[in-house]
C-alpha cells in the first residue's frame, strides 16, 4: 500500500503545475479568461494537448497516452489549484471517457485521437431539467427510423454545451439509456449558452429530431459504461477540489499572517487560527479519501462506492473550507477582484455536478447492511 507518486508522476505534476502557473499567474488572468467565450483559454488547452495531458487516460491504439487514474488525479489536482477553467474533467475524463468505454474501435480512434490533439472538444449532454443526479436519461428519447437514429428532448444544463465540437448525448432507448454522438453543427439542434456562477458556460440544448449516431452498438443500453465513467469523473472532481481547497487554505493562512487589525496580525487571534486548523483537518481527511478512491480505481475495486465516499467527504470539506476561507478574510473575501470567493464558487459547482454530498450519502445508506465494517484495504 502506497500513496506516493513515482518520479515520472512527480515530473508530470511539476510540468502541469508549471504550465498552469504561467497561464494563470494571477486570479485576474483567470477572471479575464472566463469573461469571454468559451470561458477558458484555447491556447492553454493547446499547450495541455502538446504536453500529452488531453490523451492521458486513453489507450495508445486509440490515440491516447496509455496512462491511468493516477495521472488523471495529478492533472485534476493541478487544475483545481489555480481553478483553471479548462474543461479537463468534463471533456477528457467524462466525455472522452464515455467514448473510450462505449465507442466502437473506429469511433474511439476518430474522437479520442482528435481530443488528445486538442482539435476536438467533446461535452457530455446528460443532465435534464428535473433529472437531478439520475444516471438514466428520460427527457431525451432516441428513435430509430430505417438505419438512422434521431433524438428529441432537452438537456440542461450542459457544461460547455455550446463550445463542444461534439456532444455525447444520453437518451432513453428500449430497455435503458443509450449513448449517441451529435455534431455541434448538426441540423435541428439548438444550443443556448449562458454563464455559470463559477465562470464557466452551460447550455440549454434542444434536440428536435436531431440525427445522431449511436456510440457503440446501436440502441444498446449503456448504463454500465455511464456509471463506470461517471465514477471516474467523480473521483477526478474530488482531486480538482483538493487542489482548490489547498489553495483556499493557503490563501487564508497567508492573509491571517499579513493582514493587521487593532495593530496586530490577525493570527494573533486564537478564534481565527483554530478555525484555520479545522480547515486543515477537513482538507487532510478529504485528501485521504479521495486519494484512496484513485487507488481503488487502480486496483479494479468497487469504483462507484469509492466515488460516493470521496464525493461525500469532498462535499463536506469543500463547503467548510470555502465558507471559512471567505469568513476569515472578511469583506475582501466577498469581492470578485479577490481570489477566494472564486474558489468557493468552483467548489460549489463541483459539489453539484455528478452528485452532491447528500446524494452520495443516500447511495451509501442504501448499502449500509452489506458490510460490518468499511475495510479500506483489500
Amino acid at each position: 500500500m502506497d500513496f506516493l507518486l513515482d518520479s515520472e508522476q512527480e515530473a508530470l505534476r511539476d510540468a502541469v503545475r508549471g504550465l498552469l502557473a504561467k497561464a494563470y499567474d494571477t486570479s485576474e488572468t483567470r477572471r479575464a479568461a472566463t469573461k469571454k467565450d468559451p470561458g477558458w483559454d484555447e491556447k492553454t488547452w493547446q499547450r495541455l494537448a502538446e504536453m500529452g495531458v488531453l490523451g492521458l487516460p486513453f489507450a495508445e491504439e486509440d490515440g491516447g497516452m496509455g496512462a491511468g487514474p493516477a495521472e488523471v488525479s495529478i492533472v485534476a489536482e493541478e487544475i483545481g489549484r489555480v481553478i483553471a477553467p479548462e474543461p479537463f474533467v468534463e471533456a477528457v475524463v467524462l466525455a472522452g471517457g464515455l467514448v473510450a468505454a462505449a465507442g466502437t474501435a473506429e469511433q474511439r480512434a476518430e474522437i479520442i485521437g482528435a481530443l488528445a490533439e486538442g482539435t476536438l472538444v467533446p461535452a457530455f449532454a446528460h443532465t435534464e431539467p428535473g433529472s437531478r443526479y439520475d444516471l438514466a436519461a428520460s427527457g431525451v428519447t432516441a428513435a430509430e427510423s430505417g438505419d438512422s437514429w434521431t433524438l428529441t428532448g432537452v438537456k440542461e444544463p450542459v457544461l460547455g454545451g455550446e463550445r463542444a465540437d461534439l456532444l455525447i448525448v444520453s437518451a432513453a432507448v428500449d430497455g435503458g439509456t443509450g449513448l449517441f454522438v451529435v455534431k455541434g453543427d448538426a441540423d435541428n439542434l439548438t444550443r443556448t449558452s449562458y454563464t455559470t456562477y463559477d465562470g464557466g458556460r452551460a447550455a440549454h440544448v434542444a434536440f428536435a429530431g436531431t440525427v445522431a449516431t449511436p456510440l457503440g452498438a446501436a440502441g444498446a443500453d449503456q448504463t454500465e459504461a455511464i456509471a463506470a465513467t461517471v465514477a471516474r469523473a467523480q473521483i477526478a472532481y474530488g482531486h480538482e477540489s483538493l487542489g482548490a481547497m489547498d489553495t483556499a487554505l493557503k490563501t487564508t493562512t497567508e492573509y491571517l499572517k499579513t493582514r493587521k487589525q487593532f495593530g496586530v496580525p490577525l493570527m494573533t487571534f486564537q478564534a481565527l487560527t483554530f478555525r484555520a486548523a479545522d480547515m486543515y483537518v477537513s482538507l487532510e481527511l478529504a485528501r485521504s479519501t479521495v486519494s484512496w478512491a484513485t487507488l481503488v480505481l487502480l486496483d479494479g475495486g468497487d469504483a462507484a462506492q469509492a466515488a460516493s465516499r470521496a464525493k461525500l467527504q469532498v462535499s463536506k470539506a469543500g463547503r467548510h473550507i470555502g465558507q471559512e476561507a471567505i469568513q476569515l478574510h472578511g469583506g475582501i473575501g466577498m469581492t470578485a477582484e479577490y481570489s477566494v470567493g472564486h474558489y468557493m464558487s468552483r467548489l460549489t459547482a463541483i459539489d453539484h455536478t455528478l452528485g452532491d454530498g447528500r446524494h452520495h450519502l443516500n447511495q451509501l445508506m442504501a448499502n449500509l447492511v452489506d458490510h460490518t465494517v468499511v475495510e479500506p484495504l483489500p
Partner: protein, 392 residues
C-alpha cells in the same frame, strides 16, 4: 501508488489477526466487546500473553524487547489488536515510561526496570498533571529537593489513571525553582509504597473510579531513581508526549464499536424492528462510517509515508479527529438505546440488553478523550502553529 499491501505485510496482518483471535483469552476479549471495565488481572494477563510472544512493546529498541517493524506494521499490529477486542498494552508502561527509560535512562536503570515494565510486573502510573498544571504542564509545582543521595518530594499530582493499581509512578518534579519553568523540571521514578505517598480516588461522572489524586508528603526517593540528567525532564516529557499522540487515535476500536452498534440497531426499534429503516439513523451511520474511513486512511497515509522517521504533518489530525469520532460513536449508541439507556444500574433480573445499560456510562466516560493526551485545543494550537505557521 497502489492499494494492496505487499505480500510481506499481508502475511504479517494474517499472523497478527490469528494471534489476537486465538492466543488472547476469550474472557478478556468478551469483556472488551461488552464495553465493560477490565480487571487488573485481565489487563496483566493480556500483556503477558503478548510479551511471551515478543509483541508487547514493538516500539521499544530491539535490545529491550522491541521489534524492527516498519511504521505500517506497527499500525497493523495496533489495528488488529483492537478489531479482535484485545486491550492494547498498558500505555503508561509500553508507550510512556518504557521508551523514556530506554532512550534516556542509565544502563542500570534500564536493566532494573525495562524487563519488568514490558511484562507488566511493575504497573506504572503517570504523575504529570497537577491541579494548577493541566494543558500548561510546565507550571507544575511538585518539588524534589536534593538531600544527600535522596530527593525529598512534596506536592500533589492528579488525573492519575488507574493509580489504584500502581506499583511505581513516573513523575515530573521541580528540581530548580530559580530558572525558566521548563528548565527546572526532572523526571523521577517513585515507588508508590514509599512512606508519604497517598492515592485518593476521584469519582467521575460515569460513576466509575479510574482516576486518582496522588499526594506526596516528604517522600524520600533515592537519587538513582532519576532518569537521565537533573533538570532535563521537560525534554523527556516532550519526547513522551510526542509518542503518546501516535497511538491515541483508536481507529480500530471505534470501528468495532460502530459495527456493533449497527448490529444492535437492526432490532432496537419498536417491537424489535430495525432502526436502520429510519433514514436519520441510517444517514448517521453512513456518515460516521465515511468519516472513520477518512481517519483510518489518514493514519495509513501517515504510517506508509513516514519512513524517514520524521512525523508526518497529518499525524496531528489523528488525535483530534480520532477522539471526536470516538465520542460521536458513543453518543450514537446512547441514542440507539433510547430510554433503555437509563437502566445503567440494572443488574440480574433486568430485561434491558447489556449494551444499552453501559451506553451512557461509556458516553460520559469518553468525554475524557478530547481532554487527555494534549487536549483537542492543544492539538489545534499545534496544527495552527507548527503546520500552518500561524503564531500569535
Amino acid at each position: 501508488m497502489k492499494l494492496q499491501l505487499s505480500a510481506e505485510d499481508a502475511a504479517f496482518r494474517e499472523e497478527m489477526r490469528d494471534f489476537f483471535r486465538t492466543k488472547v483469552p476469550q474472557h478478556i476479549r468478551d469483556t472488551v466487546a461488552a464495553r465493560r471495565e477490565l480487571s487488573k488481572e485481565q489487563i496483566v494477563e493480556s500483556v503477558q500473553v503478548m510479551n511471551a510472544a515478543g509483541i508487547a512493546v514493538p516500539n521499544w529498541p530491539v535490545e529491550w524487547g522491541g521489534k524492527d517493524w516498519t511504521p505500517l506494521q506497527r499500525h497493523i499490529w495496533h489495528e488488529e489488536m483492537q478489531l479482535a477486542c484485545v486491550p492494547p498494552p498498558l500505555a503508561f508502561n509500553a508507550s510512556m515510561v518504557g521508551p523514556v527509560i530506554a532512550a534516556f535512562g542509565s544502563q542500570e536503570v534500564k536493566e532494573r526496570f525495562l524487563p519488568k515494565t514490558a511484562n507488566l510486573d511493575i504497573w506504572w502510573s503517570q504523575g504529570f498533571s497537577e491541579p494548577d498544571a493541566g494543558s500548561d504542564l510546565a507550571s507544575l509545582r511538585t518539588t524534589a529537593v536534593k538531600e544527600g543521595d535522596e530527593y525529598v518530594v512534596n506536592g500533589q499530582k492528579t488525573w492519575t489513571t488507574l493509580g489504584q493499581y500502581g506499583d511505581w509512578i513516573f513523575t515530573l518534579v521541580r528540581t530548580d525553582p530559580e530558572v525558566k519553568k521548563q528548565a527546572g523540571i526532572s523526571f523521577l521514578l517513585i515507588d508508590m509504597t514509599s512512606p508519604g505517598v497517598e492515592v485518593r480516588p476521584i469519582e467521575l461522572i460515569d460513576g466509575g473510579v479510574e482516576v486518582n489524586e496522588v499526594w506526596f508528603e516528604d517522600v524520600r526517593v533515592p537519587a538513582e531513581n532519576l532518569v537521565g540528567e537533573e533538570n532535563k525532564g521537560w525534554d523527556y516529557a516532550k519526547f513522551l508526549l510526542g509518542n503518546e499522540r501516535v497511538g491515541v487515535a483508536p481507529v480500530g476500536s471505534t470501528k468495532r464499536t460502530l459495527s456493533q452498534a449497527k448490529e444492535v440497531a437492526k432490532t432496537a426499534g419498536p417491537g424489535g424492528t430495525s432502526l436502520l429503516d429510519d433514514p436519520l439513523v441510517a444517514a448517521q451511520f453512513a456518515d460516521l462510517e465515511n468519516e472513520l474511513l477518512a481517519l483510518e486512511l489518514t493514519a495509513l497515509r501517515v504510517v506508509a509515508n513516514s519512513a524517514d522517521g520524521k512525523p508526518h504533518p497529518a499525524s496531528s489530525v489523528l488525535k483530534l479527529r480520532g477522539t471526536e469520532l470516538q465520542q460521536a460513536v458513543t453518543e450514537l449508541v446512547v441514542d440507539l438505546a433510547g430510554p433503555a439507556s437509563l437502566a445503567s444500574g440494572a443488574g440480574d433480573g433486568s430485561d434491558i440488553a447489556d449494551w444499552a445499560r453501559v451506553a451512557t456510562p461509556n458516553y460520559l466516560n469518553f468525554r475524557k478523550a478530547s481532554i487527555y493526551g494534549g487536549s483537542n485545543e492543544v492539538q489545534r494550537q499545534i496544527i495552527a502553529g507548527t503546520i500552518l505557521g500561524l503564531r500569535g
